[in-house]
Structures are given as structure tokens and as C-alpha cells.
Symmetry: C2
Subunit: 403 residues, 2 copies
Amino acid sequence: MTSTPELFLPRPTCNQPKSIVILGSTGSIGRQALEVAKARPDLLRVVGLAAHSNTELFAAQIAEWRPQVAALWDEDAAQRLRSMVSGSTKILGGSGGVEEVATWPQSTLVLGAMLGAAGLGPTMAAIRAGKDIAIANKETLVAAGQIVTVEAREHGVALLPVDSEHSAIAQCLRGEESRSVTRLTITASGGPFVDTPRSELETVSPERALKHPTWAMGRKITIDSASLMNKVLESIEAYWLFDVPMEQIDVLVHRQSIVHSLVTFCDNSVKAQLGVPDMRLPIQWALLHPERVSGSPPPLDLFSMGPLSFEKPDAERFPSLNFGREVMQMGGTAPCAMNAANEVAVEAFLARRTGFYGITNCIAAVLERHENVKRPALDDIADADAQARRIADEWITRNSSVI
Amino acid sequence: MTSTPELFLPRPTCNQPKSIVILGSTGSIGRQALEVAKARPDLLRVVGLAAHSNTELFAAQIAEWRPQVAALWDEDAAQRLRSMVSGSTKILGGSGGVEEVATWPQSTLVLGAMLGAAGLGPTMAAIRAGKDIAIANKETLVAAGQIVTVEAREHGVALLPVDSEHSAIAQCLRGEESRSVTRLTITASGGPFVDTPRSELETVSPERALKHPTWAMGRKITIDSASLMNKVLESIEAYWLFDVPMEQIDVLVHRQSIVHSLVTFCDNSVKAQLGVPDMRLPIQWALLHPERVSGSPPPLDLFSMGPLSFEKPDAERFPSLNFGREVMQMGGTAPCAMNAANEVAVEAFLARRTGFYGITNCIAAVLERHENVKRPALDDIADADAQARRIADEWITRNSSVI
């Protein structure tokens, strides 16, 4: 018996499993999404898969899941795949093939978990086909936030965050009025270098940067986590998802990665979402929204979780923290250029072609030379991305002797 | 621009301030409720006040707020009051007078903040008159939870928690489905004796028990906080407000009193509400529900709040913790008897007629002799209350030589 029934939403009746498509199924998020689906076959049915070029894993996924359609972005890999799989799955290749998966008529929700800027095209195609989007590719919103959110609104599709921070914020916002929100506070584990002095960071190796203290993630996002660029991308993502000014979005270092983010309201009440650091929780939340069910996410033991600490991040050691407000003030294609420069610089860092601070220096150099387009169309985004990558490449080549 | 509009509730249009009645206006909660109302005269209008017997303060409140009606429970005090106030406020006395205030036609919400079991009658009268109840008197729900919640449902009135813990839970539940809740975790500062050994507690003075580390509250609730009986009462209150089985309600020691309580959902996601320990926040939340507005609650600085700790409470030093599940298993009038015995024992402890463990020993003795009525009507509740008080008094008198 409940005496405050207005607190609760009615339970949706759900007799049919939700049909979903996973873009980026061989990546870290994609694989965990399949685990989530495996735990609840009564609620989730995988009808389409797409990936970049990992044929072996992709072939195994097709054999296990028997989706209606599957595509590899890499045409040659798709060609090899055709000889590896049997069964009724339609096998496609190239960006056109991935878009066909993204817009597959039988799906109602698309998980966008392709790496980097490559996710933009298929995500836009899915939105225009009226699919709800579980958005794990933050670069899509960073590069083209305005276009994506306007199209999502026009096509009446939900953009459901998969990042643990944005999932936390969305969970805290449920049932609240948008205008009562005064601050979003994105938590950061601080990454592997939370206590590393600047002098040491100047010569730190990619191997050390890849050792994340709390989260098991892909390589690109783990480096972004070490440089705190991840938090810049997440702040911009939050801006577009939740319509809160950048000045009201903070980053808070919370080493334990238990509190995934917080929302402050105008009455100075703060809500937070907590959980073990495991991506299956936010993935499940997005895939099954608005239903919560038991499934693969493991429990958090409140009695033994130990003390939780909170600190201001150090913008001197992590100069990336300043980029967020800077590029959002510039607007237009500046966030896209920052994101492209970061992708190039992270690759260069992993290949030992630049140092840890080469990442932020490269981004700063690209932003300085960026020809900003104030109200970009999708083509302008693509141009800005290409231009930024070219400038970043040149900068890396010119400065690679430094390390 | 918001791309996930289904997350947000529509903003209620509110041109008229809400007319409210405060029962217990001279107490700690009542005085802070008036501060909340003072900060937002555009949203809250005080039309009725009631208190026990503090004529001086009550007369000053009438002079300041000019309510339409005001009553003192104590008839003699009401008589004195009549000669102290001028103006158009209708002055009443006795339990009948308080009930007239509780049911005053011009109000839409009644804040029930009378001390102890005395709050039951007026609260029931207000519910039957169709008033929404901001419930600060947890003893009402402990003693008569079934009757109160059934009547509230029948009369379509909301029971809005004012306790910071229950306010936190209600805030975390907003927008969620009731059946997705798997656990409520009520936080406890641990009180002044969180680290005091049992041997020392046996002879501890009322003065030390009244020194609460984080909350400024009334005397009765401060002692309940020291014995952790407060958490037992709150667990039972949560049971009735949120319809969660007692086995799924935990108490968690959190010394900083920043996290006011937590809710765990079936997907292992946990939501928490945080804020500075200041009752004006949950009071405002209840009085203005479902609106959040800026007002008197002070902000929480997430950057400087320091580490937050969480520990299992010690049921050996605080044997009261076992009463919750015990009396809820007994059901019927047992929780009422426990509550009445606690009130008597706390008074005796404050008067140095019993020791700190005299409180729990007295309650245990009363429960042992309690003649339980399984499906009580209001009269049975009153009888159980009186019987328990008599037994508790006898027990205190018989055992007072012990200290």
C-alpha cells in the first residue's frame, strides 16, 4: 500500500522483448551490451549488429545471436566475413551497410557504440529513421550536438545516455522539472595520474596511462580518462543532453567511482546515483528505459563500500579541463575540431609519437588555427573534422622530435 | 533545449500561495517551517497555528503571522493567551481547538509537527478533512501507521515526509516505479555516542546525550538519536510511507549527515539525496511539493564537503536497533506500545530517573507485558498507548533505585 502514489510512474506493460541494434558490437560497450541482453532474453532481442573490422569476434557474435542483419564498416573485412558465417543473417559491408543496420526496420532502439567520430553518420541515420538512441558515442554529441539534438526532437526519438555519468544524471532528473536544476556535477575517478606530479607526466608512458584505477574500458577512452579530456567531452555531452549551461557543469574528482554523478536543484537539494563501477548498469538502464529490472549489473554493498572522497580537479596538471568552456564559447565547429584533434593526438601518444602533454598542446594548436563555422550543417562538421585532423597530424609530425 | 522531455514533469502553474496550517508551531520543526514560509511569502501563506502551551512564543507568532485561527492544547495557556493577543485571529483552546485548526477550511496542507503521540488526533482530523499532510510527527505513523495510511488513501490526501531521511527517500523515488525498489537505507549520524563504549554508556548523563554532533533538534528527538531509537521509529515510518517490507529497510551509520538516505533499485542502481544537515530543506520540500524553489535551505559545497563515511551500526551497544523488526512482526498495537514506552523512558532519562540503558530495558519490559491487539481501531491505539505508559511508569519507579 502506497500513500504517495504520485511519486510513482505506472509500470509499462511489456509483453514483447524490445528489438535492438548494436553499432560497435565488438568494442567494450558493445560486448557488455550483449552480456546485458543475454541476461534478459525475455526483454531484449538483438536484431542487428555492426562493427568496424574485427571479423573473428564479429563472426562469433553472429553465430551466437543470429541477428537479422550484420555489417562491418571495413569492406574487405566484410568480404572475409561472408565466407566465415552461415545462417540467415544478411551480411553487409561499408558505411552504407552500417547505415542499413542502423535503420533496420525491425528495431526500435539503436545502441550507438562505435568509436570516435565514425559514429556520427549511422547515429544520424538511425535518428532520421525514428529509432530511440542509446548513446555511448559521446563524440557524436561533442562534434554535432546541435544537429543531433534538433533532429532527435524533430523525429520524436529519445537520446538515452549510456555513459555512467550521464546515466546517473538522467536517473537523478527522472520525475524532476528541468528548470529546477541548477548544477550538474560530473564525477571523475581522476584516472591513473590523479596524484602524479606534472614533471613526471611530461614523460609518462602509454602503458602507465592505460592502467585505469577503477574502470575497465577501451584504449581511447582510457587515455581520455588519464588526460581528463574525457570529462571535457562529457561536460559537452551533458550540455546537449540536459540543456544546462556550461557554467553550471562541474567536474569533481571522486576516486572510488561509486558516485557516478550528482544533480543540484534550486532548493539546494542534491541527488546522486551510486553503483559499482560496471558499465552493464548504465547500458541496461538505457536499453530497457523506462523499466528497471534485475539483470547483469552487480550489487553495491553500502556497508562495506568504505569512505567516499571528493576533490576539486587540478587544472594546472590537467590543462584539458579549460577546453570545455573555451570551445563552447567559440561554438560552431570548435568542439568538433577539439574532438578530432584529441583523437589524432591520443593515437599519436599511444604510438609514442608525442608525449602526454602533446595531447593538450596539439588540441590547443588546432583550436588556434581552426576556421570556425558558426552554424554548421553536417557537411561543415565533416570538413571541420578533416581539417582538424590534418592540422593535428602536421603538428604531431612537426613536434615529434620533442619527445 | 531538452531532448529527453519524458524525464521531466510539467511545471505546475501556481499563481496563489498555498495556504497552510502548522501544528506544533513553537517546536523546533514548527519554528523552522515559519522561517521557510517567511522566505517565500509568494508561495506560502500561514492561515492557522497550533501549539502545546508556550504562550509567550505563540503570542509573538500570532502577532507576526496574523493567522486566521490559532489554538493552544493546554486550556489554561489558551486562556492566558486570549489576554495577550489582539487582532482578528480566532483563539481556541484544548484538543477540540487544535482539531479545529487542523481542519480549518481555508488550508490545503497541514504540517503535523506536534510532539509524540499527541499528534495523532489532530493529524487524523486533518486527513478526514481532506488536507494534504506534511508529516513531521513520526510517532503518528509508528503508533497508527495502518489506520493513518488507509485513511489517507481513502481521502485522497498525500502524506509528505518532513524527516530528512524520508524526504531523501521520497526525492529518490520520484519518477520511479514502486515495484523496482529493493531496499531503503536510512542514514544515521550515529548520535553523540557513536564511539562511546558500552560501559561508559551505562552511566552517561542526559547533558552528554543532548549534545548532537550534526543536527540541532528538540530534546526528545535528540535522545532518540543518541539511543538510535530514532532510527527504529524512522524504519517503521518508512515502512508505512513507502510500503517496503521491514527486512528491506536498513540503517547505515554516516557520521557527516550529508547523505540523508538512499534507495536501491532492482537493477542495483542506488540513488541518494544529499544536503547540508538543515531541516529547512525537507520542510520546504514537503510544504511546496511538487515544486522545488530557491528559499531558505543553504547550499552544499560538494568541493569542500570532505570524505563521507559509511558503517554498519552496532546493535550490541544500541540494542534498540532490534525493536523495529520485532514490533513489526508482532504487528497490531506493539509499535504503539514501544513508542509510548520510549516516550516515558526518555522523560525518565532526562529527569535522571533511569540510565541510558534504562530506555531500552523499559521498552523491552513493556513489550513483554503488552497485550497486543492485532487489528486495532483508534480506540485500541489510545488504550495501548495508555497501558504502555502505565507499565513503563511502574517499571521506571521500580527500577529507579538501580541508578
